[in-house]
Symmetry: C2
Subunit: 522 residues, 2 copies
């Protein structure tokens, strides 16, 4: 197990990499079209801060009160209770009461930013500070596309999303469970999912969290891909650890967190809240609970390994009081996102929230309003890691390829907004204003000629044609345009090169692990 | 012409009102269902400020350079040139060179906020400061709905939009040219449009700007509706005066501005810019031109009448460099909106920008992404008067009733975001967190019971039903749901009461004016 030494990319991201030895790989590399992939976003704009300093003080004090007086439950996890007792908490049964200030103190060893390495060093990302890393939808058991409608998702669908993600210019991360491949046994599908991310894409990916041993498999497979020594020293996975809100940390998720923290791999510690059900119906009350939960979860990660990278997560939506359904793109969700961002920055932690969330069953206007509301809120709220940035439909029950490419196109808008305003002499364009003068037009002027190619964000999907032309060509709506784009992208997909020796080793490991236990379907 | 004296509403808005004398009117008032209409928004959230103090300084200095060195054209308007000369500008031909600082100095007499009165005092709005007033689409010659497709708009369509606007809870303003009634002669349609706003709605409205004498008609009709003395002392119209960018003030628009300013009626002084064609392809360059144009236009309004209410307008979009079509909901448009908002606040002027702008031909996902991008940017950018807040389609060529109700529903989201975060004891919800504790749920707790009714924004349109139910009921998309809502609203519409004597006087005036000149269709 050797690495080919360290490489340096433009971002100053250092990583080791196994030699891409084989001739087949080199041939593939030569024939593959050069993909245009944007670097992760570095925000050159301010954060939108909705909480006043007084409001922050109240919420932080209340969160400490929650931890001390009410406490949090660490369920079916005696070792966790021992760790908390040792750290100075008052443990009664499974309830952990954390003295004021202790959790925040423990969180201080968590890094404010970290690099997650990709096997292609150009795709490595920095998470934290002013960065924004975009990752696709996570978790849906169903798949819906224009041609075939809604059905249970399969491994083939999973591969489709990984390919689309690999080809999406504005997507920095391959994600994790882009859909649940329900045709693969529950206890083995994590292996196929990881192999898809590792072999069909060269972007960074997430590990499995559904059992302690599946997290261990994720680490083992990553060690094959990156080299064992490299993984020991570097973060190559960011995985999603949900808190069982309110205030409960279950043994399964904590098992994954323990495995990843011990291996210096990153975890998003994320309250999962439908407001009104898992948190109070008020924004300030929900923020208090979110903060208390993240404080406890992040502090616990540092009890496992000081310095383990963690993200302040917040997946918060609100309930429709008529139907009981979760809602998305709502004003309450935006306010909570902005407030949570402020609380995360006060802790010097990277911040994660949702991206293209919506409740709609179809990629229609409802889906787009709700998605755009969430994307805009997340960009301005200082999110560092945006999960579900594209492809999410029907409250997270469905992954949709058309929604995937529709949202992925809008992610270009976020890049451009985040770049801020160019106030250089060229940006000021005084020569152009002088050249054109009152009543003229700028189409042909020197400044326009020199700048028009990169001046404006350009869609790869939306339609700007004149009505008559659009109508003559069939009058397609966005859903149809997206469906065509999905087909075109999949037609043009070329697998990124992977060292055949590494590939074989990955397959061997997976085969061995699959053979070791019987299939389970629940 | 007498007024029934001044009334005071909750907002401290004072207005006079003609007695609503007739028994018919009183009967109508008794039988009309009480409409739920939201008060205009008062933002309890910060503004998003993208320009640094240094960037503002540069742009302001450059705008002064533009005014002094390049100058602006006041076309076919010798009186305007005289006024500028007298104010100290260097006038050469139709070109007005304004010495550094003069325009900004002249702008200081414009009020930072003003009240626009509605005939129903509960619907009067304050424009400026932290307020946000929402008005519908303005200007499209075409109408498109789900049943009949796209065709030239008629006066019947116009009435449809005024009725929908009257019934829309989150819309504060009836607007102006909600569509062009192309079946009415060009030189007479302003009379029918004004009568529709005055009789079918009781919300504030806009006056005509397409000719000096049409602006005068708007004032005369308003004097009938409100009483002459009341109009002399109060603002009852806000009208849209576009600048012919770059840097050109044409005689027609200035004629309207002169009429309104002299009558103390408000005007939006608004550069109309497709970036890349009417302004440089850079954001900072466009902001410079916008500022120069607004400085000159607002200064000119104050040369007509010191203290005349005016709004810093900015209708700015960018061009698609492939097709030459204007684009909407783009990152450049958002950045310009935010920057322009900052420049407007530096001048202590109310700020206007677009609302639900989009380029899509259909009220589909493209329309909704673009619209939501614009609505969100405008809310956070501190807009005080949002024109085109609902109903806009196809780059402003089309008004759509379905898009109208879809957007109008989203305007509720803006209200709720703008309310900020309640940090009262009830908002903190500590009792709820204590009551529920780890692992519980909040659905039945005392705090939820007491607060759930008003806790969350509720859609009047979007679908949150479980998939199976939604599917069994036909699987309607948002376009179809909107179409149903339009029909329901029009079925339920009841005309607000209007004093029959006033109504007769309005009709007489219109009949007289229509008889006075032959029909013109261009």
């Amino acid at each position: 197990m050797s690495t080919s030494g360290a490489e340096q990319d433009g971002a100053g991201v250092r990583r080791g990499r196994r030699g891409t030895g084989g001739g087949a790989a080199r041939r593939a590399e030569r024939t593959a079209p050069r993909l245009e992939v944007a670097r992760y976003i570095e925000r050159n704009i301010p954060d939108f801060e909705i909480l006043t300093p007084e409001a922050i003080e109240i919420i932080e004090a209340n969160a400490d009160t929650v931890l001390e007086e009410i406490g949090v439950n660490f369920v079916e996890n005696p070792a966790a209770l021992d760790r908390w007792r040792e750290a100075g908490a008052d443990v009664r049964g499974e309830r952990v009461h954390i003295p004021r200030g202790l959790a925040r103190e423990l969180c201080k060893t968590a890094p404010s930013r970290y690099i997650q390495h990709a096997r292609n060093p150009e795709r490595s990302v920095e998470i934290g500070g002013k960065s924004l890393v975009l990752a696709p939808v996570y978790g849906p058991p169903f798949f819906r596309d224009r041609d075939r409608g809604r059905r249970y998702a399969t491994m083939e669908d999973f591969n489709t999303f990984v390919k689309l993600g690999y080809m999406s210019k504005w997507l920095h991360h391959s994600g994790g469970t882009v859909c649940e491949p329900t045709d693969v046994p529950v206890n083995k599908r994590h292996l196929d999912m990881l192999y898809a991310h590792m072999s069909l894409s060269d972007k960074p990916y997430m590990g499995s969290v559904t059992a302690h041993e599946r997290a261990a498999d994720s680490v083992a497979l990553s060690e094959i891909l990156f080299g064992k020594e490299f993984v020991a020293d570097n973060t190559v996975m960011t995985s999603l650890v949900n808190i069982n809100s309110p205030l409960t940390f279950d043994g399964i998720m904590m098992g994954a967190l323990e495995t990843y923290a011990a291996a210096n791999q990153a975890a998003i510690v994320s309250p999962f809240i439908v407001g009104g059900a898992m948190a109070p119906v008020s924004v300030a009350g929900t923020l208090t609970q979110v903060l208390a939960e993240v404080l406890a979860g992040v502090a616990y990660s540092q009890l496992i390994r000081k310095g383990a990278p963690v993200i302040f997560g917040a997946f918060v939506t609100s309930i429709d009081m008529n139907s009981g359904a979760p809602t998305f793109g709502t004003p309450e969700a935006s306010k909570i996102l902005w407030g949570a961002g402020q609380l995360a920055r006060r802790m010097n932690l990277p911040f994660r929230s949702g991206g293209g969330l919506c409740g709609s069953k179809l990629p229609d206007a409802q889906a787009a309003y709700e998605t755009a509301n969430t994307l805009n809120a997340a960009l301005l709220g200082g999110v560092n890691f945006m999960l579900h940035a594209c492809g999410w439909l029907e409250g997270g029950l469905v992954s949709s390829p058309e929604k995937f490419v529709m949202d992925a196109d809008q992610l270009g808008v976020l890049h451009s907004i985040a770049s801020g305003i160019d106030i250089s002499e060229n940006g000021q364009a005084m020569d152009a204003i002088r050249e054109v003068g009152p009543g003229g037009h700028y189409l042909g002027c020197a400044h326009t000629q020199a700048n028009f190619k990169d001046a404006f964000w350009r869609t790869q999907l939306l339609d700007y044609k004149p009505f008559e032309q659009w109508s003559d060509e069939g009058g397609a709506d966005t859903f149809e345009l997206a469906s065509r784009r999905v087909r075109r992208m999949l037609d043009e997909y070329v697998q990124p090169a992977l060292d055949p020796a590494v590939d074989e080793e990955l397959r061997d490991y997976i085969e061995r692990r699959k053979a070791a236990e019987p299939d389970a379907f629940v």
